[in-house]
């Protein structure tokens, strides 16, 4: 099979468009990670709460969101909500959809991380007179954070790649930028190889940041 030589000149011509898409991908991922982590933390805390209603809600949330494809959720938000009187722009829909979905996965990771911390830590904190939120914030979460980092890093990378799904709701991120170029020029090899390399660069950079953080945290406990 002949792949044909990659035309560097053509790549240079499409690169600005692809880079614009990549910037949007980064933007989406950044917002989705921030919001998603917040949602994940709240849902995780709900799931281990002593209040039955909160536990029930947390369980329902992860059950529903993890059980339905992100693609369908995005389409519902984008095409469905306007029928219910709520029209949001593409960017908002994309961020909300990705955050809600990422949050459900992160909730499970965070819950497992919190529960992996020895029970004696919470008891020691409470026995000093700390409130539950104080114990969580000062004692449990800082320890859980370290254990959470590798699986959370994975989740962040997944989220970055899944951001390509929002191309279906006309959000011009990297994949849709590539698709638009493809429709206009019909040179899929240069276009998709370039886009793939850009994705790879972004995920690699992310992995490196997470690894660096992990190493720094290991040092901070003196082992």
């Amino acid at each position: 099979m002949f792949l044909g030589p990659l035309d560097i000149n053509f790549i240079m011509k499409i690169l600005p468009n692809l880079l614009l898409g990549a910037v949007m991908t980064i933007k989406l991922t950044f917002f989705a990670i921030t919001l998603g982590t917040l949602i994940g933390l709240l849902v995780a805390l709900a799931k281990i709460s002593s209040f039955k209603v909160l536990r029930w809600f947390g369980g329902l949330y992860t059950w529903v969101i993890r059980g339905i494809p992100l693609l369908l959720q995005l389409m519902f938000l984008y095409y469905g909500l306007p029928f219910m009187g709520l029209t949001l722009n593409e960017f908002t829909v994309a961020v909300i959809g990705m955050s809600i979905c990422g949050g459900a996965y992160m909730a499970e990771i965070i819950r497992a991380g919190i529960q992996s911390i020895d029970k004696g830590q919470m008891e020691a904190a409470l026995s000093m007179g700390m409130t539950y939120p104080q114990a969580m914030r000062r004692i449990i979460l800082p320890q859980a954070y370290k254990r959470l980092l590798p699986p959370m890093g994975n989740e962040f990378i997944t989220l970055m790649k899944d951001s390509s799904l929002v191309s279906v709701i006309c959000m011009t991120e990297l994949l849709r930028a590539a698709n638009l170029l493809q429709n206009a020029t019909f040179r899929p090899i240069e276009i998709y190889v370039s886009a793939g390399i850009l994705y790879l660069m972004m995920t690699t950079f992310f992995t490196m940041v997470v690894n660096r953080l992990e190493k720094r945290l290991a040092v901070s406990e003196g082992n």
Partner: protein, 263 residues
């Protein structure tokens, strides 16, 4: 200082505490001994409401712990703030130290005064350094728990509890997780506290230590206080057959108990 009235605690079908009554006065050192599974640790953990009791009353300086009984006889849980306030006045030392691994020894000791009491950093630091030197670990202030031996970790844990300037200290088998050669250093810190007049409740398997430090010894078995008395009385003339049986099995080999003939 602390008054316990007929407390009952069960884990599902398992009855762990079957009606415990006890009153501890200020400055008193009470040592609780007994076989494993007798409810000693659970009892201690009920006192600061790490475990919720099923019924009964606990009063710490006349304030109810965990639950309160209304004049109509209804049992209601006390407010979170009040509970924290009560707990902050009772120091607890755990079998497995439970130091915070992400903090240095110094930060561990500073944590309570900073977070719970809201003290200023320099003040908390001075107090923490003073307490670390009291337990003989001034030179380990900047070490993380993972860099300390078990005995050192437990001494930091004692300093951490003392940093709250508690009125009462609860020790839950403080030396059970230690290598034998490290037991002495922890016990000597506790002894020092006893001579300073700290009110303490100590669950331990160290009989020689119990005899030396206790004002009162309690023998617990199967969720009940079987026998209570001065250390001399319990260790030399135990009255209850279960106490005798227990003591003879744990003391076998290095301390002889004269057996009064029961007839």
């Amino acid at each position: 200082m602390i008054k316990v009235q007929n407390i009952i605690k069960d884990f599902g079908k398992l009855k762990v505490l079957k009606g415990i009554n006890l009153e501890v006065k200020q400055g008193e050192v009470v040592v609780i001994i007994g076989p494993s599974g007798s409810g000693k640790s659970t009892f201690l953990r009920c006192l600061n409401h790490l475990e919720a009791i099923n019924s009964g009353n606990i009063f710490f300086e006349n304030q109810p712990v965990g639950f309160n009984q209304t004049p109509e006889g209804k049992i209601v849980p006390i407010k979170g703030k009040e509970l924290c306030q009560l707990r902050s006045q009772m120091g607890m030392v755990f079998q497995r130290f439970n130091l915070f691994p992400h903090m240095t020894a110094l930060s561990n000791v500073m944590e309570g005064p900073l977070t719970v009491l809201g003290k200023a950093k320099p003040e908390a630091r001075d107090l923490a350094l003073e307490l670390l030197s009291k337990v003989g670990l001034s030179n380990k202030a900047d070490n993380f728990p993972s860099q300390l031996s078990g005995g050192q970790q437990q001494r930091v844990a004692i300093a951490r509890a003392l940093a709250m300037q508690p009125k009462l200290m609860l020790f839950d088998e403080p030396t059970s997780a230690l290598d034998p050669e490290l037991v002495g250093e922890v016990l000597s810190v506790i002894k020092k506290l006893a001579t300073e007049g700290m009110t303490m409740l100590i669950v331990t398997h160290e009989m020689a230590f119990a005899r030396e430090v206790a004002d009162r010894v309690i023998f617990m078995d199967e969720g009940k206080i079987v026998e209570m008395g001065s250390p001399d009385q319990i260790f030399t003339t135990p009255r209850h057959p279960r106490t005798r049986e227990f003591l003879s099995s744990v003391l076998r080999g290095y301390e002889k108990i004269p057996y009064p003939q029961v007839g």
